[in-house]
Amino acid sequence: MTDIPAKAAVASASSGSVLLTLMKARTFIALIAVLVFFSIAAPNFLSAANLILMSKHVALNAFLAMGMTFVIITGGIDLSVGSIVGLCGMVAGYLVLNGIDLQVGYTIYFNVFEIALITLAVGILIGAVNGLLITRLNVAPFIATLGVLYVARGLALLSSDGRTFPNLVGKPDLGTTGFGFLGAGRLFGLPVSIWILVVVALGAAYLAKYTPLGRHIFAVGGNERAARISGVRVNMVKMFVYMFSGFCAAIVGLIISSELMASHPATGESFELNAIAAAVLGGTSMSGGRGTIGGTIVGAFVIGILSDGLVMMGVSSFWQMVIKGLVIIVAVVVDQAQRRLQSRVTLMQMAKAG
């Protein structure tokens, strides 16, 4: 529709705005569409047990996608999140099983709460490494986080020599029990991981909308030079988004190890791609400056429900990949079409007014 000649476009300006509204709500429409489709096509899809199970799957991707959203809004990319998930899982597993050996005959064991804090700190620290590479050493985000992807994954494998840390029940006498609560525990009938997601998502959405830092994230992605001249501390903003992304990845690492009660060093491989997909599906622009936390969460749900629903329908995993890819491509094409339609409508109005 972008090829309609100029005069026809003037006439269709009003109908264009209806189309525009539809296009803006596309992720939501897609969510409703997949929900309706699978509740008809897949038996038991709408059962409470299944919905909760799906939400737990979706939550993992949603965490990563939120961190990714902020990074992408600043105009960057974080490829290292999958590896951070793996490494943080290994850190948690190692601490539960082995504690820290002080080399003088003593070994410190931490309780589960402390282990969680240390693991989160590791995630944030790796995010900070990404941030330093990008802001201080001027490495392109793609390259910096690609490098960290390999380093973190390698460290995860080295930590156990490639083996799994099994059976993370902990020992009561060491105070290391209760690690399973994150993954399997429930509060008010809902899994703990869902509650954490709600808290982090509300916090991130608030940050984006009502704090100077949030405003600065958008400004940096929209026009870095203008932001700098306006006094925005661009480097600090970038450090923050990569550290937040690392933080989100660490949460996912903790939840997965806790669900499985084991840490495997290959956990999280290619998770970064799902996170990018969810963010893009939710309307985040890869060129920076545009995106919302709400949109990303909806995007994560669309992708998650799509893959779980297809599994329930018995569609082969090969076809699942094809379908997921097509959905992402369509989302971006619609996004571009919306952008062009929108600017055309504004330009038309200006041409008529001028």
């Binding site: 000649p5 100029a6 005069k7 003037v10 009502y210 704090t211 100077p212 830092l213 405003r215 600065h216 958008f218 400004a219 929209g222 026009n223 030079r225 203008a226 932001a227 700098r228 001249i229 306006s230 006094g231 925005v232 501390r233 400056g289 545009r290 600017s343 504004t346 330009l347 038309m348 200006m350 041409a351 001028g354």
Partner: protein, 516 residues
């Protein structure tokens, strides 16, 4: 003499408008191009000449309106389309591949190939030599373009356009880099093309050139066509009147308030250039509260770089600055803004605005901390400040939540000014504040400058417009080649003195040692 007979119209633009985000470049233009004649197009910088030509050459598509080629409506989706219909263009900025030879450039995208699709470079060079011969430039077709002088490159560009065998040939400032002798040759080529019935559209700033070779003249002002005549019916004065408009520029009058104490001083500012030498060369100046200090200079004189140094945008700049007598130790932009400095950058799109954010977000971007309680942006306080700025600066916007890119250039500039003012500055640096905005918005901006200086702000503003600097400044500094080459009180400043000072240090100036 050829103008005596009326030439046939080959190309006609009807009611053509072109809108870029933020600016209307061409407004409802009607333009006719006549066969076998030189159709001249003139106008000030930013009047829309180049845009109009790009529309004809298919580089840009009109937002509204139609193009008629020999009575038939056409639309070009690319410059290739236009070339196929016989329209060629010599661009103002050179579009050559430096790493290829002259012949390869001339035949780029139309390579001559043999039966096996191999490029026949011998044939290309032979044909290229023919075109170059006509231009008498002494350019060999096998030379690399990057080894040629700029003037010679321009001739290659012209040869390329001529080789298209176009029916309509657009020349956008073809003589800007040519020597007098080369211009003569070009005019001979143009006369030759004219005799063969080619329609030539000729854009230039050099009025004497236009009057010499033009047959028809069209004048553009602020995107509108203000005059269309046969060249023999007009004189220089007519052209200037159409270009500038009868109404003189509206500079707000000085109100006669007396500047206060010194509010800002820069000492010995230096900025090394990447290529060696100094972009800002030991500049010192001082500014009083309520004073407007104009900095005049040509492009590349180092005015913008001086402002950048003052704002702390270059870590390797040296020198010291003082605000209200106190030394500014902070070296980064963020903290210098807090100390009371604010910059309105020259390039609005690249440095002034975050175009995808709303008008409101742009206005408050530099001063968000004023509206924050703990870490929460107070929407009420922010809205209040935005409304106040929109009213004070007369920003024409229906709803401040609108994207800033939907505003006109003048209103965008007001948003940039509003953003700087919301930080509560003591010293305002304005780099070409009137560039690319319409007459009404210019008057508003000038009025705002007067008002601010009355309120006790010190204003440093850089411009390359003589009228502007003479009319607005309390004192005038002149920069040239990174150095401060003159400082005049308004009473004693003359245009001639400013121009002389702005040319110091450019090229071999014979009597530099006699000057202060």
């Amino acid at each position: 003499m050829t103008a005596a007979i009326d030439h046939d119209v080959i190309l006609k633009l009807e009611d053509v408008s072109k809108v870029y985000s933020g600016t209307v470049a061409v407004k409802r233009a009607n333009f006719e191009v006549r066969k076998g004649a030189v159709n001249v197009l003139v106008g000030e910088n930013g009047a829309g000449k180049s845009t109009l030509m790009k529309i004809i050459a298919g580089v840009e598509q009109p937002t509204l309106g139609r193009i008629l080629l020999e009575g038939e409506e056409v639309s070009f989706s690319s410059s290739g389309d236009a070339v196929n219909r016989g329209i060629g263009m010599v661009f103002q900025e050179l579009n050559l591949f430096g790493n290829l030879t002259v012949a390869e450039n001339i035949f780029a995208t139309r390579e001559i190939t043999n039966r096996f699709h191999k490029i026949d470079s011998g044939e290309q060079e032979r044909r290229a030599a023919e075109f170059l011969e006509r231009l008498e430039a002494g350019i060999r077709p096998d030379m690399l373009v990057e080894d040629l002088r700029i003037g010679q490159q321009q001739l290659v560009e012209i040869a390329k356009a001529v080789s298209l065998d176009a029916r309509i040939l657009i020349m956008d400032e073809p003589t800007s880099a040519l020597s007098a002798a080369e211009v003569e040759i070009l005019f001979k080529v143009i006369a030759d093309l004219k005799a063969r019935g080619v329609a030539i559209v000729y854009i230039s700033h050099r009025l004497e050139e236009l009057i010499r070779i033009g047959d028809y003249i069209t004048v553009l002002r602020d995107g509108r066509i203000t005059g269309q005549e046969k060249m023999k019916n007009v004189d220089t004065q007519w052209i200037v009147r159409q270009m500038i408009g009868s109404d003189a520029k509206d500079f707000a009058k000085a109100d006669g308030h007396v500047p206060g104490a010194e509010i800002f001083r820069a000492e010995d500012i230096c900025l090394p250039r990447v290529t060696g030498g100094l972009a800002v060369d030991h500049v010192s100046l001082s500014l009083r509260a309520g004073e407007i200090l104009g900095i005049y200079g040509l492009m590349g004189a180092g005015r913008s770089e001086l402002f950048d140094c003052i704002m702390g945008r270059h870590g390797h700049a040296t020198g010291t600055i003082f605000i209200a007598g106190k030394k500014v130790k902070e070296r980064d932009t963020t903290r210098r803004i807090r100390r009371g400095l604010a910059l309105i950058p020259e390039d609005r799109q690249r440095e002034g605005l975050v175009s995808i954010l709303s008008v409101a977000s742009n206005l408050t971007l530099a001063s968000l901390s004023r509206f924050v309680r703990l870490f929460h942006i107070s929407g009420a306080k922010e809205n209040q400040a935005v409304t106040q700025m929109v009213r004070e600066l007369a920003i024409k916007v229906a709803n401040p939540a609108q994207e800033v890119s939907s505003l006109s250039g003048g209103n965008q500039q007001k948003v940039v000014i509003g953003k700087a003012l919301l930080t509560g500055p003591k010293v305002l640096l304005m780099d070409e504040p009137s560039r690319g905005i319409d007459v009404g918005a210019k008057a508003d901006v000038f009025r705002t400058m007067r008002k601010l200086s009355r309120d006790g702000l010190g204003i440093l503003f850089a411009t390359s417009d003589l009228d502007e600097v003479m009319a607005l400044s309390d004192r005038i500094a002149v920069m040239s080649n990174g150095k401060l080459t003159g400082m005049f009180d308004r009473a004693e400043a003359t245009e001639a003195a400013l121009v002389a000072a702005s040319a110091l240090g450019h090229g071999p100036v014979p009597h530099t040692e006699n000057r202060p």
